[in-house]
Amino acid sequence: MSLNRVDKRKFTEIRPISIEQNYVNKDGSALFKFGDSAVLCSINGPTEVKVRDEKLDKATIDVLFKPWIGSPGTNEKTHELVLRSTLESIIQANLHPRTLIQVVCQVLMDDGSILATAINATTMALINAGISMRDIAVAVSCVICKDGTILIDPKEQEIEENQSFHTFAFNKVSLNLLFCESFGVFTEKQYFDCYELSKTAAQEVINEIHNAIKYNITNGR
């Protein structure tokens, strides 16, 4: 049964995660990989903000999402909105009024579940930048195949032939739903099955993040 996936993973298994912080010389940065999907995120800020975007009581959060190939389109704009609204609910923006926190996500390799990878990369970069946060966000994608099986953290090949595609982001403290994007045709039960499986997988991502931070601290990075 476990041989049914292209890379011989179990249905509910996430791909190997690799996390590298301080990747580029910015205020904070991180490279996050879900198998072959890789997103590099760099943070600038809190820095000076344009008068037009200035908010009197909190920091302005600006997100740029750069695709792997081609120029950004409506898909990338949607990712930007998702990342920004997710970050606005976890960053303590009120600590830095009248400043700008700029987040740049560059896709280095796209092998499916790219939005989830980007959310996790951003979380790691924010931790690296030392921006105060209430909580951290972790994201996992899944697909429901035509025969009803749920595959966690799908590769591009698995996304192409599916019934529906879901991306969930949870916060670490209460594991409530931060963000959800589900498209396709599915039943209520299938949706909540995906929800629970993604939540379990998100816990694994949190553990990996823990290990990465521990490793960085013990090695004095």
Binding site: T74, N75, K77, T78, E80, L81, V82, S85, T86, E88, S89, I90, R134, D135, S164, F165, H166, N171, S174, N176, L177, L178, F179, C180, E181, S182, F183, G184, V185, F186, T187, E188, Y191, F192, Y195
Partner: protein, 282 residues
């Protein structure tokens, strides 16, 4: 009395969140609705006679017009039988001072993208049915959705507008003359589209992590950043779940939203059916 209304208005402008909170403590919304009550929704089909299909949707003060125009085009090399369906949402300065003239704002792009994803992922229209002659000519349907008045919950209005306009589309009977390389079409518009499902949406906002507001207005949207949109079809299946902002959403909230979205589906379907009936009488 007049000074009192003035004070409430000042209070609303200075403390919009506190203003809304005061209403919600009494289980009522600033516009007199209950928490679970949608605004009055109307659908007007075939309002633009120069299009192949059109509809005008009103949800309270939010007004959206959708017009669908069919043109002939060459199919892609990789999919020689597939036509095109191109949705585009326009939020002009006319509908709200929030929007500036120029290239489409982020909000408009996100609306277009989500509508496009809904169309594709739920395969509402089989693009193969838009084929006139394989490899030479296909229909391309431009669905232009224009927001005329912006008062919150524009996504719902756009989706209802698009779906009803699509079901209103009538295409001419077209044939491809191979020798001349021309498409010949009849004057009359006869052939309706064959839609595989008719999904309708419902949008919710969560305010303060506890109040679930159905069908938020612009004022409510500006203070309640946690937004959930559910789109269901006639069989009760879900086509889209979209949730952004905030950290207080639990499966309980989602279950409640899904059940309300199903009730809302029946409501919209009835409104559309009534409109179709009265349209056929004329």
């Amino acid at each position: 009395m007049s000074t009192q209304t003035y004070e409430a208005e000042t209070f609303r402008k200075l403390q919009p969140q506190e203003y809304l909170r005061k209403f919600l403590l009494k289980e009522v919304r600033p516009d007199g609705r209950e928490l679970k009550q949608f605004r009055q929704t109307t659908v007007n089909l075939g309002c633009i006679s120069t299009t192949n299909g059109s509809s005008l949707v009103r949800i309270g003060n939010t007004t959206v017009v959708c017009g669908i125009k069919a043109e002939v085009s060459v199919p892609k090399q990789t999919s020689t039988k597939e036509g095109y369906l191109v949705p585009n949402v326009e939020l002009s300065p006319m509908c709200s001072p929030k929007f500036k003239p120029g290239p489409p704002s982020e909000h408009a792009q996100v609306l277009s993208e989500n509508i496009n994803r809904l169309l594709k992922s739920a395969s509402i229209l089989d693009l193969n049915t838009l084929c006139i002659h394989e490899g030479s000519a296909v229909w391309v349907l431009y669905a232009d959705i224009v927001c005329v008045n912006y008062d919150g919950n524009v996504f719902d209005a756009c989706v209802i507008g698009l779906i009803t306009a699509l079901s209103n589309v009538k295409l001419p009977k077209a044939t491809f003359a191979e020798e001349e390389g021309l498409v010949k079409a009849t004057e009359e518009l006869l052939i309706p589209l064959n839609l595989s499902r008719l999904p309708y949406p419902a949008t919710f906002s969560i305010f303060d992590g506890q109040y679930l507001l159905v069908d938020p207005t612009e004022v409510e949207e500006s203070v309640a950043h946690e937004v959930i949109t559910i789109i269901c079809d006639e069989a009760g299946q879900i086509c889209t779940v979209w949730k952004v902002g905030g950290i207080s959403c639990t499966p309980k909230h989602l279950e409640k939203c899904i059940s309300i979205a199903r009730e809302r589906y029946i409501e919209i379907a009835a409104i559309v059916e009534n409109e179709e009936k009265s349209n056929n009488l004329i």
